[in-house]
Symmetry: C2
DNA sequence: ACCTTTACCTAACGAACGTTAGTAAACAAA
DNA sequence: TTTGTTTACTAACGTTCGTTAGGTAAAGGT
């Protein structure tokens, strides 16, 4: 028996991720979720304490994954150019490994309540700062063009954060291809 | 009196755009909307026929704007390189001129019902095809690198579609700066 | 054997949802 | 001045929401 049956707790969270991704947090009811899992809505509360807890877990779990992957990726590289490439690759990898979770992370965090909402925003801004530091160093080293750092990092992350959409495409694109193409375009541009 | 008072119909739609953008379509109730406008929920129905009609109008109105701006922009340019730059600029301009509407267009269209949903998806895919045609021509002309066209256009549009987030930033970024920076990065890359 | 825990159920809570019906006031057209 | 249209109101409809209470039956440990 290769595939062990997931326990309910895990199954509920997995299903919730998928449904929050597909219909959005606000448009997914606890009764919808329960039906998908195959139990009654009230029974969900044996495995969680509130709907918002589900969202909260998803968002902060993904934040942690992005942070860890980023740190590990840049640690082993020396130049800003290589660091950036590695960070991009790591970011894309986290998305690819968590297609549902990352979509929720990108789109549904607005439904977090204070004070978690503020904490979440802070984490995101710290993560972006990591990218800005690399780009700034690249400019100082005269490796990168003298671009507006904030704007450049914003553009890069916007491009990366949309990549979850690519995996449902009809052509089978591998994570490798996507990472190569996107980082190539951002670093070297479209023009010859 | 410089500012004419908007009629209710327009005021409701403007407020709805702002609220759909900020809280999302599903999480904005008709009572919320009515309160913001300063009337009772039931009174809204003198000016609209359903909540979904509001969303529908917003999405298809924006689609039309993107299409028209695109056509006008590429018509006056000759080379793929210039066409692409012009299309990017036009796209960013439409977003800048419709900050609320474009956000709804990008994020809330999932709540459209069939058959409008299918029609909407088709329009989007046609629009993307316009960009792909330009990039393909650029490659044929040996003006662009031999990239994966779909992937490249996807990356470009992802970067563009996030630009609405930039206007609420603390630094005052002009539409001009944003268009220059983003198109520069995408066409010529970050590396020197 | 008993006891505790786990995992589900039915029933129901109060609140909020989108929307309709019916009505009165305001205003323009005749 | 009468008539019709527009725009707002209150009241209510049936439905769905997240969640709680209380019960039951099986599982597992001692």
């Amino acid at each position: 028996m290769a595939i062990a049956k997931l326990d309910r707790r895990t199954e509920i969270r997995q299903t919730a991720r998928k449904m929050f991704k597909e219909r959005g947090y606000a448009a997914t009811s606890m009764r919808d979720l329960a039906r998908e899992v195959g139990i009654e809505a009230a029974s969900l509360y044996n495995h969680l304490s509130s709907k918002e807890e589900l969202l909260h877990e998803m968002c902060f779990d993904m934040a942690e994954q992005f942070f860890q992957a980023f740190s590990a990726a840049i640690a082993s590289e020396k130049t800003p150019s290589k660091k950036l490439r590695a960070a991009i690759k790591a970011h894309i990898h986290v998305i690819a490994a968590n297609l549902d979770g990352s979509t929720v992370f990108f789109h549904e965090w607005i439904f977090l309540q204070e004070p978690e909402l503020a904490r979440f925003k802070k984490l995101r801004s710290q993560y972006e700062q990591g990218f800005r530091d690399i780009v700034q160093k690249g400019i100082t080293d005269k490796d990168f063009k003298e671009v507006n750092v904030k704007l450049a990092v914003f553009t890069i992350l916007s491009a990366l954060n949309a990549t979850y959409d690519l995996y449902k495409s009809n052509e089978k694109l591998s994570e490798e291809e996507i990472a190569e193409s996107v980082s190539g375009l951002l670093l070297k541009g479209l023009k010859k």
